[in-house]
C-alpha cells in the first residue's frame, strides 16, 4: 500500500460530522504533548514519536516514501528575511 496522502485521522466507534475535526483533535494532542518541554526535550519527544509510528507502520516502502517527502521540502521552501 502506498503512503496515504488524503486525510486519514479517525477514531474507532466515533462519528465525525466535520471533515476537519479528527485532524484537529490529533493536532491539539500533538501540541499538548510538548507542553512545558524545553526545545531539546521536545526534539527528543519528537524523535521517540517518529520511531514509535515508524515501527507501527512497518512497511519500509511507505516509510521510505515519507522520508523522501519530509526531506525534500526542507531546503526548497522560500524563507522570509
Amino acid at each position: 500500500m502506498p503512503l496515504v496522502r488524503e486525510t486519514n485521522f479517525h477514531q474507532p466507534g466515533k462519528r465525525y460530522f466535520r471533515r476537519y475535526r479528527a485532524g484537529d483533535d490529533f493536532y491539539e494532542a500533538l501540541i499538548n504533548m510538548h507542553r512545558e518541554l524545553s526545545d531539546e526535550q521536545s526534539a527528543k519527544a519528537n524523535a521517540k514519536l517518529i520511531l514509535l509510528l515508524a515501527n507501527h507502520i512497518g512497511d519500509l516502502e511507505v516509510l521510505g516514501e515519507a522520508l523522501e517527502i519530509a526531506r525534500s521540502g526542507v531546503d526548497s521552501f522560500p524563507e522570509n528575511e
Binding site: V4, R5, E6, T7, N8, F17, R18, R19, Y20, G23, D24, Y27, E28, L30, I31, H34, L37, D39, S42, A43, N46, I69, G73, F77, P78, E79, N80, E81
Partner: protein, 555 residues
C-alpha cells in the same frame, strides 16, 4: 474615516411606564439591541410574545465589527423575515485561500454543492444587519424598543425580575417575567447579578483596518501566514459591501494599541499589503485582544444570557455573532411553550445545556485556530510551518491548516431532548442536527424546504409516489395538527401530484432524498428551530407523539 456609512440616530421617547407610581410589568424584556438581542426580540414577537427591548444607546454598531454571517444564521434570519436585504447587500463568498510566505498553499470551498436557498457565507457590516433588524422590529405591534434606556440594577425574585433603568428623563423601574440578557461581552447585567464568564486570555493583539478601495480582488477570504510584507505574523483580507475591505494584521502582544491605531502607522501597513499603486482610504480602525470564555450556565432562574454576554470566542472562524443568533433560535420557542403552559419549566434548562455544548465546541475550534495562527512555542511553530509547507503537495496537510474553522452548527446528539436513532440511516441528518435545505416543487412552483419549516414542530413524511399516500396516515397527520403541541405536516413526494388535504411538495431534483437518506415512509420530526429531533424509517404516530413529548421535556 467613515466615508461610506453614517450611523442613524434613533429617537428616544419617554415611555408611559416612566409616569407610573409602581413598576409596570412586562412578560419579556430583552437587554441590548445588538444583532443577538434584536434577533431574540423579533423571534419572540413572531411567536406572539409581547416583547420590550432596551438599549443604552440610540444607534447601530459603530464600525463594521462582526462582518461574516454563516448559512445557518442566514436561515434563522430568513425565518425572522430579515435575510433578503442581507443577501441583497452582502458580499456572497464560498472560497477561502491560504497563503504561506506569499505562495498559495490551499483553497477551500465552503459550499461545494448547489441546492440551498442561502449561501455558505456573506460578508456584511454589522451596522447594516442592525439597521435591517431595527426596521423589521418596527413591523410588530407587540414589540417595543426603547433607546437610551440603560439598565442600572437588576433584582431577581422567585416570581419576577425588577429592572432599574436610567433615561434622559431620569430613572424608572419596570418588572418582567423573563429577562433576556444580550448586553455583550462585558455584560453589565452579568456584573449586577454577581455572575462570571470564565476562560482564557490570549496574549496577542490584532489590528483591524477597514479600507475603501476599487480593487480587482475576488470576493474570497485570503489568509496569509508569514507574508513578506508582514513577516513572522499573519494577515487576513476580506471583502465587504460598498468597496470596503476588511484587513486584519496580527501585531503581537508588545504592540502599543494607541500607537497602532493611528492612521500614520496603519497606512504603511496597508500599503505594504496591497501594493504601492493601489489607492485606498481608511474607513475604520481598531486594535483588539481577545479571550475565550463562557458562563458556567446560561440560565439563572428567570434570566437568560445569550450571545457574547454568555460566551466569548476569538474572532477566527466568525463564531461570535453567528453563535449568538443561534442561541436565541434555540431559546425563544421553548420560552413560548413554557409561557403558554405547554411545557414544564425544565424545558428552559435545556437551552443552557444545548447552547453550553455548542459554546464549548465554538470555544474549542476558535482556540485551536488561535493556537495554529499564533503558535505558543518553538516546537509548535515548527509543526505549524511543516503543515503549511507540506500542504502544497499533500492533501491531508491542507486539511490540518487551521486559519479559522468557519462557523458551523453543533450536532446536539447528546441532548436530552433528542430521540436517538432506532432505525438505520446513511445521512448526517441525525437527531440533533440543524436541518439541511433542499429545493422542492410545490403547487406554486419552485420552493425551498427551509421556507416551509420552522416556528413550530413540523413532520416531514416521504413517499415515493404521492398517489399512494394512505388514508390512515392522512388521518394521523390531521390528528398531529390538533395535538396539544400542534405539528404541521409536510408530505414530500418523490413523484406525483400534490395530495389532497395535506401540504405536499415534490422532490423533483432528488436532493431531499439524498440529503435525508429518505426511502418510502421515512419520517423526520423537526423542532421549531429547524433542528432534527427524531427520525424513523416508517410512520408511527405513537413514536412521533413520544418524540414531541421528549423534545418539549413533557415526559
Amino acid at each position: 474615516m467613515f466615508h461610506t456609512y453614517k450611523n442613524p440616530v434613533y429617537e428616544y421617547k419617554k415611555s408611559r411606564d416612566q409616569n407610573t407610581s409602581g413598576p409596570v410589568h412586562h412578560p419579556l424584556v430583552v437587554v441590548g439591541a445588538g444583532p443577538v438581542g434584536m434577533a431574540a426580540a423579533i423571534d419572540a414577537a413572531q411567536q406572539e410574545i409581547p416583547t420590550l427591548i432596551l438599549d443604552e444607546d440610540n444607534t447601530v454598531s459603530v464600525g463594521s465589527r462582526a462582518v461574516c454571517y454563516s448559512k445557518r444564521t442566514l436561515e434563522i434570519m430568513n425565518r425572522l423575515g430579515c435575510s433578503q436585504p442581507m443577501i441583497e447587500r452582502g458580499v456572497t463568498w464560498n472560497l477561502g485561500k491560504v497563503f504561506f510566505r506569499d505562495q498559495l498553499v490551499s483553497s477551500f470551498n465552503l459550499l461545494p454543492e448547489d441546492g440551498h436557498k442561502l449561501p455558505a457565507f456573506i460578508n456584511l457590516q454589522q451596522y447594516y444587519l442592525e439597521e435591517y433588524l431595527v426596521r423589521r422590529m418596527d413591523e410588530f405591534e407587540n414589540l417595543e424598543i426603547r433607546w437610551k434606556n440603560r439598565v442600572m440594577a437588576v433584582e431577581t425574585n422567585a416570581d419576577r425580575v425588577v429592572l432599574s433603568i436610567d433615561t434622559p428623563d431620569g430613572p424608572y423601574q419596570l418588572s418582567c417575567d423573563w429577562l433576556l440578557v444580550a448586553d455583550g461581552a462585558n455584560s453589565p447585567v452579568r456584573e449586577f447579578l454577581g455572575l462570571e464568564s470564565r476562560g482564557q486570555w490570549f496574549h496577542d493583539r490584532f489590528l483591524i483596518a477597514d479600507v475603501v478601495m476599487k480593487a480587482e480582488f475576488p470576493p474570497e477570504r485570503w489568509f496569509s501566514f508569514d507574508p513578506s510584507y508582514h513577516p513572522g505574523r499573519s494577515t487576513l483580507l476580506h471583502r465587504q459591501p460598498d468597496d470596503v475591505w476588511r484587513l486584519d494584521f496580527q501585531l503581537g502582544w508588545d504592540a502599543d494599541p494607541e500607537m497602532e491605531k493611528k492612521p500614520e502607522n496603519v497606512i504603511p501597513r496597508v500599503r505594504a499589503m496591497l501594493g504601492a499603486d493601489i489607492e485606498f482610504e481608511l474607513e475604520w480602525c481598531s486594535v483588539y485582544t481577545f479571550r475565550c470564555r463562557r458562563m458556567e450556565t446560561f440560565r439563572h432562574g428567570r434570566v437568560f444570557f445569550v450571545g457574547d454576554a454568555a460566551h466569548q470566542v476569538s474572532p477566527f472562524g466568525a463564531r461570535g455573532a453567528n453563535s449568538g443568533i443561534q442561541d436565541t433560535d434555540n431559546l425563544i420557542w421553548k420560552l413560548k411553550l413554557v409561557m403558554t403552559g405547554k411545557a414544564p419549566d425544565r424545558l428552559l434548562d435545556s437551552y443552557s445545556d444545548e447552547r453550553v455544548y455548542a459554546a464549548d465546541e465554538n470555544i474549542m475550534n476558535s482556540t485551536r485556530a488561535t493556537d495554529f495562527i499564533t503558535p505558543k512555542s518553538a516546537v509548535s511553530h515548527t509543526f505549524r510551518d511543516a503543515v503549511l509547507e507540506l500542504s502544497c503537495q499533500q492533501p491531508f496537510a491542507r486539511d490540518l491548516i487551521n486559519s479559522g474553522r468557519l462557523s458551523d452548527t453543533a450536532f446536539l446528539t447528546e441532548s436530552a431532548l433528542t430521540t436517538p436513532d432506532s432505525d438505520r440511516f446513511g445521512s448526517d441528518m441525525v437527531p440533533g442536527a440543524a436541518m439541511l435545505d433542499a429545493p422542492v416543487t410545490g403547487s406554486q412552483g419552485s420552493q425551498w424546504l427551509i421556507d416551509l419549516v420552522g416556528g413550530r414542530f413540523t413532520l416531514l413524511y416521504f413517499v415515493d409516489e404521492t398517489a399512494t399516500l394512505s388514508r390512515s396516515v392522512l388521518q394521523d397527520l390531521e390528528a398531529l395538527g390538533a395535538n396539544r403541541i400542534p405539528v404541521k405536516s409536510l408530505v414530500i413526494g418523490g413523484h406525483g401530484e400534490p395530495a389532497a388535504g395535506v401540504a405536499t411538495v415534490i422532490d423533483t431534483q432528488g436532493l431531499f432524498r439524498k440529503r435525508y437518506d429518505a426511502t418510502e415512509g421515512t419520517t423526520y420530526l423537526i423542532r421549531p428551530d429547524q433542528q432534527v429531533t427524531a427520525r424513523w424509517r416508517a410512520f408511527d404516530i405513537t413514536k412521533i407523539v413520544a418524540a414531541i413529548d421528549s423534545a418539549t421535556a413533557n415526559h
